[in-house]
């Protein structure tokens, strides 16, 4: 190659690196700044989470949460102090007001995004957290306000954690651990801890989630037996500790309730409620069709291929896929019919 070609090549390389705004150098700087911002935001989240539990985060806890070396954690803390985000005390850190409002913004982004993914995008519960961990760093305050309005100003994320308002105010969850709830009493699940992941998946797989009403049937040192009306769940105490409950708002699903998808053809039934897992658009849609509690419903048409089936409700025929119908709880016709025959027997 001639020397001119070399000069040209070097020149091209230099331009590619140094070009303002789109050059490699700027790109790299931008990437580094993004990475630092993420780290700072994750640190803020950790500290605010500890503060909410009434504890002060320490350099050790921070290093553990972010999986950083002690040295890098220290430099991160110094940088954050310089930017006026936190103060170090002998007992640990505390956030400045600037740090706290930034931290709450990230928390709000995380929880709103989870709510959005669960309600509008229909993402399964166990995948929400990971997706929100990425999105929380990318949402501006204006975008969040729009999202908040679009979702109808939700109060809680899908796990039951409170979503901070735009002004940063947070309404704490008033709840106790499931293990401490009196046996025999009804309760409503209000919060499920999403870590550790293994336990969270177990709870979700059992169909338990915020909004579900339960009753504790048995509380022994080995285990906890609870019922959601028609299914009994046996939980180890380590699992139950991750579920928080509060006062029930309405009564437990009656025994013998079945999912609409299991309703046999030709038997009338009555809607009890929509499952707590049915949220967002899908829930609004079913409600708008008139599937409110106490509505009479029956199967109008079976499908050649089993799915969807058509149901007769409020004088109209509506086809629902099995997955949707499975989120509608109905009283089986047999129990109401039995009660009727029982009544008639008494009258006779």
């Amino acid at each position: 190659m001639t020397s001119q070609a070399w000069v040209l090549l070097v020149l091209i390389f230099a331009i590619a690196v140094a070009w303002p705004k789109i050059g490699l150098w700027t790109q790299w700087r931008h990437y580094q700044a993004e990475k630092t911002r993420r780290l700072v935001e994750d640190a803020l989240k950790h500290i605010v989470a500890w503060e909410q539990r009434g504890q002060a985060a320490t350099p050790e806890s921070l290093a553990g949460a972010l999986s950083l070396s002690q040295r890098r954690t220290l430099s991160l803390i110094i940088r954050m102090e310089k930017r006026g985000l936190l103060r170090s005390d002998p007992a640990g850190f505390s956030l400045t007001s600037k740090g706290e409002s930034w931290a709450l913004h990230v928390v709000r982004a995380h929880r709103l995004w989870e709510r959005y993914l669960a309600d509008d995008a229909g993402m399964p519960m166990e995948r929400l957290h990971q997706a929100a961990e990425i999105a929380e760093h990318q949402l501006s305050a204006e975008k969040l306000d729009k999202l908040d309005a679009h979702l109808g100003h939700p109060q809680r994320d899908p796990h039951g954690d409170p979503i901070p308002a735009a002004d940063g105010s947070l309404k704490p969850v008033d709840a106790v651990s499931l293990s401490q709830w009196p046996t025999g009493e009804q309760a409503r699940i209000v919060h499920i801890e999403d870590e550790p992941d293994v336990i969270f998946r177990q709870i979700i797989a059992a169909g338990l989630r915020p909004g579900v009403n339960i009753r504790i049937l048995e509380n022994t040192p080995e285990r906890l037996v609870i019922s959601d009306g028609n299914t009994e769940h046996r939980l180890a105490h380590i699992v139950a500790a991750n579920i928080q409950v509060a006062e029930a708002r309405h009564s437990l699903r009656p025994a013998g309730a079945i999912r609409l998808s299991e309703l046999p053809k030709g038997e009338p039934a009555e809607v009890i409620e929509l499952d707590a897992a049915c949220r967002g658009f899908s829930r609004r849609r079913l409600l708008d069709l008139g599937l409110t509690p106490q509505t009479r419903i029956e199967v109008a048409l079976d499908n050649p291929f089993g799915d969807p089936r058509a149901y007769r409700v409020r004088g109209t025929t509506i086809a629902l896929r099995r997955q949707q119908a499975g989120q509608i709880w109905v009283k089986p016709p047999s129990t109401s019919a039995n009660q009727q025959t029982a009544k008639e027997a008494i009258h006779a």
């Binding site: 993402m123 829930r283 409600l287 069709l289 509505t295 969807p308 086809a319």
Partner: protein
């Protein structure tokens, strides 16, 4: 009485505060109370009859959605509609073509008598007018028959039952059951079918419906399919069954199209459009007696005239383009012939020829002019041909141009799968507002078309 005027900001603040006290289930409670009120009013003032009508509806529903009869009834109705369209449109099309031919000849004579330059006369009458005449005579009769019949089905309430029967297929493909409805609209016009996807609430499933609608052959492509079915398929049967065989062949092509719709939906749902199935709620309305006046209005004014007008708008410039290509010579050969020669290798590879591909390039604005363009280049005459009967076309294609069954089959497949017309592409853009999805919507079918026809051509040539 004085009204205390509140500061708007204070009102908003209070609303915001109250909202937080309401809890997450207040929507449920609002809807429940609305329905409870409505129920109370209805109970007081509405008397419900004996329900005989509902019994009838249910009996019909049981038949049209039954495991045994459901799908055969659907296919039967589809075949019947095509058959009536093929039978009914043949004669009026011929009459219109002859009429326009006479008009054109007279007008051209008149122009020459007035001393208008021959080039201009040729451009206007043998180019633009002939393009229009072809499109009107080829499209108007089938549309005027097809659309009213289709509207009757719509009016009866049969289409939601089709969606009900077909949903299992779409569910397995990761798509929405209402896609069956938008596909049905696509038979009339893909652009209309794409606009109709607004009935699908979920953005993901709606995109799938938009991107795959092109695999339903639209009215502009039916003339091609019908012509090929009549010339190649029907000819193999005794005359009494010829039209039935042609209709059967068209139904077969439609089924292949449905197959590709499902296949591409499945591919999209597993690659670029992953996600969960959204809420599927489909109302099955009671059957109604179709109102004739309304059907005539919606099918003739809203659809036939609309689609025809659009075709005319695109056919006129296309007619002009064909005339120019056919009349400008370079080294003694027309530009059209040059382009056809250039496309020949690619055309041969997929079992067609250069002329057919050229016709498809010129016909991007409107699929309706594919056949006329093709015939014109074949005949080497300087304008679109005025062949009016299938017998003449058969002689031209088979005896003179050496078409085989492979050419016919691959042309049917290509016509079914190839890229959407310009109007459809613009509609995809309007509905998605995304250059990315518009590009995918335009190119994905083209890739399918080339891949499938190439595979068929290679397989057939290897085996014979």
């Amino acid at each position: 009485m004085t009204t205390k005027v509140l500061d708007p900001r204070e009102v908003l603040l209070r609303a915001d505060h109250l909202r937080r006290e309401m809890g997450d289930d207040f929507r449920d409670r609002i809807v429940s109370s609305l329905y409870a009120d409505a129920q109370r009013i209805a109970d007081r003032s509405v008397q419900i009859g004996t329900g005989q009508k509902w019994d009838w509806d249910q009996k019909i529903d049981r038949i049209v959605t039954s495991p045994v009869f459901g799908l055969p009834i659907m296919l039967g109705i589809l075949a019947l509609i095509f058959w009536i369209t093929i039978i009914g449109a043949n004669y009026p099309s011929q009459m219109l073509a002859e009429f326009f031919f006479v008009v054109e000849a007279r007008a051209a004579e008149l122009f020459i008598a007035w001393g208008v330059p021959a080039l201009l006369t040729g451009f206007i009458w043998n180019g633009v007018f002939r393009g229009l005449a072809w499109v009107v005579s080829v499209m108007l009769p089938p549309m005027a028959i097809f659309f009213p019949m289709f509207t009757v089905l719509e009016d009866l309430g049969y289409l939601p039952r089709v969606a009900f029967n077909m949903d299992w297929l779409f569910r397995n493909a990761g798509a929405h059951g209402k896609q069956a409805l938008t596909m049905a609209m696509g038979f009339g016009c893909n652009a209309a079918g794409i606009t109709a996807t607004r009935v699908i609430d979920s953005p993901r499933e709606r995109l799938i419906a938009i991107l795959t609608n092109n695999f339903v052959p639209c009215n502009g492509r039916f003339p091609t399919l019908i012509m090929l079915a009549t010339i190649f398929v029907a000819a193999a049967f005794p005359p009494a069954f010829a039209s039935l065989a042609a209709a059967g062949a068209v139904v077969g092509v439609v089924l292949i199209g449905v197959g590709f719709t499902l296949l591409s939906s499945w591919l999209l749902a597993r690659t670029v459009l992953q996600g969960e199935a959204s809420a599927f709620t489909l109302e099955l309305p009671p059957y109604r007696r179709p109102s004739i006046l309304r059907i005539l209005y919606t099918s003739l004014i809203d659809r036939t005239i609309f689609v025809l007008w659009r075709a005319i708008l695109t056919a006129a410039p296309a007619g002009a383009a064909i005339w120019v290509l056919a009349n400008i010579d370079w080294n003694g050969v027309s530009l059209a012939q040059h382009s056809a020669n250039f496309l020949q290798p690619l055309g041969y590879a997929i079992g067609l020829d250069g002329v057919i591909l050229l016709a498809y390039v010129i016909a991007i604005p409107a699929n309706e002019i594919v056949v006329p363009t093709m015939l014109m280049v074949y005949m080497g005459v300087s304008a679109m041909s005025d062949i009016t009967s299938y017998d003449k076309i058969r002689t031209l294609l088979i005896d003179e141009q050496g078409w085989t069954m492979l050419t016919a089959v691959n042309l049917m497949l290509f016509s079914l799968l190839h890229n959407p017309c310009a109007t459809t592409i613009i509609t995809i853009w309007k509905e998605t507002r995304s250059a990315k999805w518009t590009t995918i919507g335009a190119l994905m079918p083209l890739v399918f078309a080339f891949a499938v026809t190439f595979a068929v051509a290679t397989a057939v040539r290897a085996l014979w």
